[in-house]
Symmetry: C2
Subunit: 255 residues, 2 copies
């Protein structure tokens, strides 16, 4: 199973600690890794078809404190598609003058949507096909860029159509919000004042966030499995979509 | 003036030597840099809004031998648009299931094309607007992905429409070919058997390509100014488009 990591914060925050935890799990996930950092509307996108344990690109990400308000990372274990750069998550497209970043964990069997719009896969994974279909349907549903709640509403209609083809754990961001959808396995965590210390579940590393943060900082983390011990990770229900804005979970407006 | 660097090769080749030469010129070009490497259809895209002289990302590019058949690099001196990640070249979009990479040196005054298609700028530079317009017009001109000669033909019609707005030195690649267009300043060079030695014009560094290549290797380099001494750089004529495929210049078919 691939590993997903998402971060949404109200102030630009680095993810070196969480990424180190994620990369530690790369033992069984040798088929490439990728990470995308939004800085406002701008995007840094690092991918490598080498394992996150040995990639010089992953090493840069672990050592260079890139501060971002929305991050999506993915460590790949190939289920569909060759091990190749063009099959490495996260994928990026532009829509409505914003970059969109997408990473998927799962497997969509026999998923061959009709792609008649402006979004075509470059590689040959089910995941990139799903992303292109999602972008196409979002573009059809809204003439211009909608608000976050409107987008969440449209995603609540579209995502079950993908999820019925198989397991579909998803991270999606346009730099304004982080959308996370689970069918089988995803956890989220909110860090805010008073900050405590956390220890990585898989590596011998601890961080005292109180020393690194200010009281108004707020960060949400989403991951395939809890990355730390001693923090209140919350599991997603099957089919659940969570939306994170400014480091906090945004609840759907009452119908 | 920004600095452009393009590379097209018949065998995956690293550009550490040329990029070192380019980065040496970054003294007066502190407004960010970017480099994109195709590996077949896949793409690595590194950008930073810090100078190429001090950016850890540039340092990675100098030290990690990424082998690619098509490379586009850009060192920015901002003329239009803030210094920000979203204004950093090269820009990337997907069309016909291929990534397209674009970098521009020059300044298009009052260029505000009608963008009604699927390509919108994320940042606020004239360059990204020109790229979006170019992608839109290419998409209109061909229903599916055309061959390289057909694309070159369409570009020969489109590029003068951009160039009449100002200086427009351009590098464009889809991973199959490198298109280079100059209005004011661009040079190209072909390296092939028998390979000799070259010395960077701006840095104290020499390379003996004979020791690093095999006799069938062929590499074309395009740059704003000759990067080396002792090699036969050829200047572009104003308005000239050169197309490079498999490390060699491809001449237009006779009309």
């Amino acid at each position: 199973m691939c590993q997903l990591l998402g971060m949404n914060a109200n102030t630009p925050t680095d993810v070196m600690f969480s990424f180190t935890g994620l990369a530690t799990r790369a033992d069984e996930h040798k088929d490439g890794f990728g990470i995308a950092f939004f800085e406002d509307k701008g995007l840094r996108h690092f991918i490598d078809d080498r394992s996150a344990r040995e990639s010089p690109v992953a090493d840069l990400v672990r050592r260079y404190p890139i501060r971002s308000d929305n991050v999506i990372a993915h460590i790949r274990k190939a289920t569909q598609g060759r091990i190749a750069l063009e099959n490495t998550h996260p994928f990026v497209r532009e829509l409505w003058g914003r970059y969109w970043v997408f990473a998927h964990n799962g497997n969509l069997e026999g998923f061959a949507p009709r792609l008649h719009g402006a979004f075509r896969p470059v590689g040959d994974t089910d995941s990139e096909r799903a992303f292109c279909w999602l972008m196409q349907e979002l573009a059809k549903a809204h003439a211009g860029v909608p608000g976050i709640d409107e987008l969440s509403c449209t995603l609540r209609e579209l995502l079950p159509q993908l999820a019925r083809h198989g397991s579909f754990n998803l991270l999606l961001s346009n730099g304004q919000a982080l959308w996370a959808h689970a069918t089988t396995k995803l956890w989220s965590l909110q860090r805010q004042h008073p900050f405590g210390a956390a220890t990585l579940a898989d590596a011998d590393l601890s961080v005292d966030f109180a020393a690194l943060t200010s009281p108004t900082d707020r960060v949400a983390i989403v991951a395939t499995e809890p990355l730390t011990t001693g923090e209140a990770w919350s599991p997603f229900a099957p089919g659940e979509l969570r939306v994170f804005v400014h480091g906090a979970r945004r609840l759907p407006a009452a119908a």
